[in-house]
């Protein structure tokens, strides 16, 4: 774990400056079934390949953003703020 992560605000920084927020998962609707909520809270997929993740620039601008990271190569393809969609 010594790769660089590009904060959309501050640029390339050591990954130690960040907090990892996990894979982006759509939150179930308020009236979703118990099963859906349990899956959301407790089941973590850990799939191989690119996934969209939350990261927080703890020792920098203190912003939450998305990174698209390949879990096999541990390479980050893109980072952007949630407003920037993509």
């Amino acid at each position: 774990m010594s790769f660089l992560l590009k904060c959309p605000n501050c640029g390339d920084r050591s990954v130690y400056e960040f907090r990892f927020g996990g894979k982006l998962k759509p939150r179930p609707a308020a009236d979703a079934t118990e099963g859906e909520w349990l899956r959301y809270s407790y089941e973590h997929e850990n799939a191989a390949g690119p996934q969209r993740e939350w990261w927080y620039h703890r020792l920098g601008c203190r912003q939450w953003f998305f990174a698209v990271r390949d879990t096999c190569a541990n390479s980050v393809e893109a980072t952007f703020f949630p407003e920037e969609g993509a």
């Binding site: 660089l4 541990n74 407003e83």
Partner: protein, 927 residues
């Protein structure tokens, strides 16, 4: 050259030249034995003279395991031997080799099959086997290492001709270059060539012509040419010990660890020579040819009187010439296959060959050359066996890495310079020059490390670090450890301080011979960082002190005789004592009485404080907190709980509404970072108009509480504190003693009281003001411990003390904080789930039935077995008995029921009660 420095070896003064290394100075002074081996305590002398073997480890100025041959001397340096007793020359522990038969390969695995055996043997083994010892106490430890973070366009590892050419070319093309070399001077093997005849100035951007001459001088001119570039930073005597993710090079230089990020990596690490395997190949006086050349041509040493050169070249090659030129007689040149054994006790006396016994005091070995490709392999390159080269050569390099020079298998100087320059230009993004595609000029041809079957009696060393012989490896293979990776783990060959440099190739050779395959089929062991040993202190870095946070009133507490406690990074008063010997319980009880009977004040500056502003602030808080804040009236405060999606309580605090679009939040002391990030997270990407600002450090806070709190505050503020105008759970901005404050009327300790928040710079002023104004009421400061007792009597939970990572508001008796009629909030589904199912455990209050006072964490027992636990328990002055909170199975949680508390060897009875232990109706805090 004259002596101008003096070092001390085991306290004996030794003269040294300024250019000397510790090893060259000691050698010149007559020292031949530099260390004792790990297991058998055999004498060992200089072998590689290049920092790649384990033979010359010494203690320098208190630091163990320093290599004498790569450490330059410094006047006054204190050098000491290690792993020998009583002395290097006469080591009693060498008798362990007589017991060699008792320590077969795999000794540890076979012998210590029971724990007690290891316990018996360990102290002895620790004394006998090993490397250096750490001396003294931590206080005499050498200064700590520092960490540096650096960047470069191009990192060049290796300062030989290829590396120098690469650095010059990349720098000439404008790149920022860092050149890393592990020797004292740049130039690599050129330094110890007697003559260089090639004209090479066309191959390196140099102002002066570099035509040829003594290797040392040519290297010096090359080094100077590279150092001319302002954009080349040279790190010499530095080891690039590993390549990590994100192209991060770990570099150790003196007492620094450098984290270097480079866009491109050029590896020009060359080759290193490794020993041939024959009996007694470890005796002092057996030296690698490269070591011999270095010691002669750089340090001008006379290494002996008569040398036997073990070499494929009939005339012994350049090393024989150098020996002769330095005044050493060549007794014989012997082809490797003729060698039988070296004879001698503490040093070489003769070399026994197939034909004769040759008297000599030096055996010079032209050994196999191993391309130093560990970094390339870490970069992702493959190492492919090349039969002709007799070596594993790097192939399929990744885009960001290039190799040049001998590490690629080309031994020519011209080739090194051309390839180096090409790599440098390419790394800098510049076009390559003409004629840069010449193929290898002189392909590497490395001899095999093993030549004939060895007798089973003698010791032919494969691994010098771990004292592993050919026989040990062969025995291990007979036992089934035939794969190189398992062989390595079983014998520990290649796992010592040389990290396999000296022994990997011979190990592979032995493996290949036994299996009758090519070395390529055996393969190499995986190269992992670090490629050279790194002191743990270097990785640990500087001894940074722990950051400490102090409240603005810190000094005043100190003067008041406070006993401190740590809460995260904060220092908080635990209790105050005028007399250091006063028992804690008495002090705490005095503070408690002040609050219950008169007035007390506590510094709450460590509370997390957030200012949440914006038109969507109500929406965000309704979503993140379990209760409702959109309907909170301006001027009112409310208890607030955060849960995660599973309904587990994460934090609690209060939220006050200062304006329709502005809230003031307090969090627990340790959780402020978390709560801030949590709020920002749920706001991220939603487009909500809300700003979360951490104002913890900006505000100090004091809670003034007790029956006289109102009288006290009235003396210093015009804010109407009457029960109607300022009811319980009210809040307002107002001036106190001229300071703009935010006042909240809360009841954590269960008495009439106000939390006063104000700009931190007025901390001491307001604290003193309150003390002064309270003098007539005998106001008293109270600490965290009294507060814990006061709140416990009120049954107020502390998140993280009375709750854990499974507690929901339902179990924790806080169901009322979850507003299930809200459309949605974080944790709603989890709380609904907890509600819909019978609880396993509940948090209950209890009162002891006798005089005993259990400790926090004590077990609740049923039929003698633990089924629950106490989270908080204190002696309650109001009750005259201990009271507390405990998690118990739901079927034991009914009020009135008696429970048994485990108390060192016996059980104490307690009764579960439903109400707070003190002022159950909560009338006092509302007065």
């Amino acid at each position: 050259m004259t002596d101008s420095a003096r070092i001390f070896f085991n306290d004996e003064p030794i003269p040294a030249r300024p250019d000397d290394t510790v090893a060259s100075a000691l050698f010149r002074h007559g020292r031949r034995i530099f260390g004792r081996s790990f297991k058998y305590h055999r004498p060992r002398g200089l072998l590689c003279a290049a920092g790649r073997c384990p033979n010359c480890l010494v203690n320098v100025d208190g630091v163990p395991n320093v290599r004498a041959c790569t450490t330059p001397v410094r006047d006054g340096m204190k050098v000491a031997h290690q792993n020998a007793w009583p002395s290097l020359d006469f080591d009693l522990m060498a008798s362990t080799q007589l017991l060699g038969w008792a320590m077969p390969v795999g000794f540890y695995y076979k012998t210590f099959t029971r724990r007690w055996m290891w316990k018996l043997a360990e102290p002895l083994i620790r004394r006998v086997a090993g490397l250096g010892v750490i001396q003294g106490t931590p206080a005499d430890a050498p200064p700590s290492y520092e960490h540096l973070h650096q960047r470069a366009d191009v990192a060049v590892v290796g300062g030989g001709p290829a590396g120098l050419a690469a650095a010059a070319a990349a720098a000439g093309a404008g790149a920022q270059v860092v050149l890393i070399d592990d020797q004292t001077k740049l130039g690599g093997h050129l330094r110890f060539l007697r003559r260089i005849d090639e004209e090479i100035s066309d191959l390196i951007d140099s102002k002066e012509a570099i035509k040829g001459g003594r290797g040392n001088e040519v290297a010096g001119r090359l080094e100077a040419a590279v150092r001319e570039f302002p954009n080349v930073k040279v790190l010499n005597q530095a080891t690039a010990f590993g390549l990590y993710e994100g192209r991060l090079l770990g570099i150790l230089q003196d007492r620094r660890l450098i984290h270097l990020r480079a866009g491109k990596l050029i590896v020009a690490t060359g080759t290193y020579e490794v020993p041939l395997v024959f009996e007694n190949n470890d005796l002092p006086g057996v030296m690698l040819s490269s070591a011999v050349q270095r010691l002669i041509n750089v340090h001008e040493l006379k290494l002996g009187d008569a040398a036997a050169v073990v070499s494929h070249e009939e005339d012994g090659g350049a090393v024989a010439e150098d020996l002769r030129a330095s005044g050493v007689r060549i007794a014989a040149v012997v082809p490797p296959s003729d060698v039988r054994r070296v004879k001698g006790r503490r040093r070489v006396r003769s070399l026994l060959t197939r034909r004769a016994e040759i008297a000599c005091d030096l055996v010079v070995v032209r050994g196999p050359r191993v391309p130093d490709a560990a970094l390339l392999s870490q970069a992702g390159a493959k190492l492919v066996w090349d039969d002709e080269a007799g070596a594993f050569l790097p192939a399929s390099l990744p885009d960001f890495a290039a190799a040049a020079g001998r590490v690629t298998g080309d031994t020519s100087l011209r080739g090194a310079l051309i390839r180096g320059r090409c790599a440098g230009l390419e790394a800098a993004g510049a076009p390559r020059g003409p004629a840069d595609d010449e193929p290898f000029r002189e392909p590497l041809r490395s001899p095999a490390p093993l030549h004939h079957p060895l007798s089973r009696e003698g010791k032919a060393f494969v691994c010098y670090c771990e004292d592993q012989t050919v026989r040990d490896l062969e025995d291990a293979m007979v036992e089934g450890f035939e794969e190189i990776e398992t062989l390595k783990r079983y014998t520990t060959a290649t796992m010592g301080p040389c990290q396999g440099k000296m022994c990997q190739l011979p190990s592979i050779g032995i493996c290949a011979r036994r299996k009758d395959v090519a070395p390529g089929a055996v393969g190499t062991t995986t190269s992992r960082p670090p490629v050279a040993p790194v002191p743990l202190g270097a990785l640990a870095g500087p001894h940074l002190h722990h950051p400490v946070k102090r409240t603005p009133m810190h000094e005043l507490h100190e003067r008041f005789g406070c006993v401190w406690t740590d809460m995260g990074e904060w220092k908080r008063p635990l209790y105050y004592t005028k007399d250091k010997n006063a028992p804690m319980r008495a002090c705490v009880e005095a503070e408690y009485r002040a609050v219950r009977e008169r007035a007390g004040m506590i510094d709450l500056s460590t509370l997390g404080k957030l200012d949440v502003a914006g038109t969507d602030a109500p929406k965000l808080l309704d979503k993140v907190y379990t209760n409702r804040f959109s309907d909170l009236k301006v001027g009112r405060a409310r208890y607030a709980v955060i849960c995660d999606e599973a309904g587990v309580i994460l934090d609690d605090g209060t939220i006050s509404r200062a304006a329709p679009d502005r809230y003031f939040i307090t969090t627990t002391t340790g959780n402020i970072e978390f709560v801030q990030q949590w709020l920002e997270w749920w706001a991220a990407g939603t487009g909500m108009c809300v700003h979360v600002t951490n104002v913890t450090g900006g505000f100090a806070a004091v809670n003034v509480a007790g029956p006289k709190a109102r009288d006290l505050l009235r003396k210093v503020t015009k804010v109407d504190l009457g029960p109607k105008a300022f009811p319980y759970m009210g809040c307002t901005e107002g001036e106190v003693a001229g300071v703009p404050c935010f006042l909240m009327r809360l009841g954590f300790v269960g008495e009439t009281g106000w939390e006063v928040h104000f700009p931190a710079e007025y901390g001491e002023y307001l604290w003193d003001t309150f003390l002064e104004a309270g003098r007539e009421f005998d106001v008293w400061p109270f600490g965290v411990e009294a507060q814990r007792l006061l709140r416990l009597e009120k049954r107020h939970v502390i998140v993280g003390v009375d709750t854990d990572a499974t507690s929901t508001p339902i179990g924790a008796d806080l169901a009322w904080v979850a507003k299930m009629d809200k459309d949605d909030f974080i944790g709603k589904a989890g709380i609904a789930r907890a509600r819909g199912r019978p609880a396993r455990e509940r948090l209950v209050g209890f009162v002891l039935q006798d005089e005993s006072i259990p400790e926090d964490g004590s077990a609740i027992a049923r039929d003698g077995k633990p089924v629950g636990r106490i989270t908080s328990v204190r002696f309650s002055p109001a009750h005259g008995k201990a009271v507390g909170l405990a998690w118990v199975p739901a079927d034991m949680a009914d009020p009135g029921r008696e429970i048994d508390i485990h108390l060192s060897g016996r059980f104490a009875r307690a009764k579960i009660v439903a109400d707070p232990f003190y002022d159950p109706k909560g009338e006092r805090q509302k007065r």
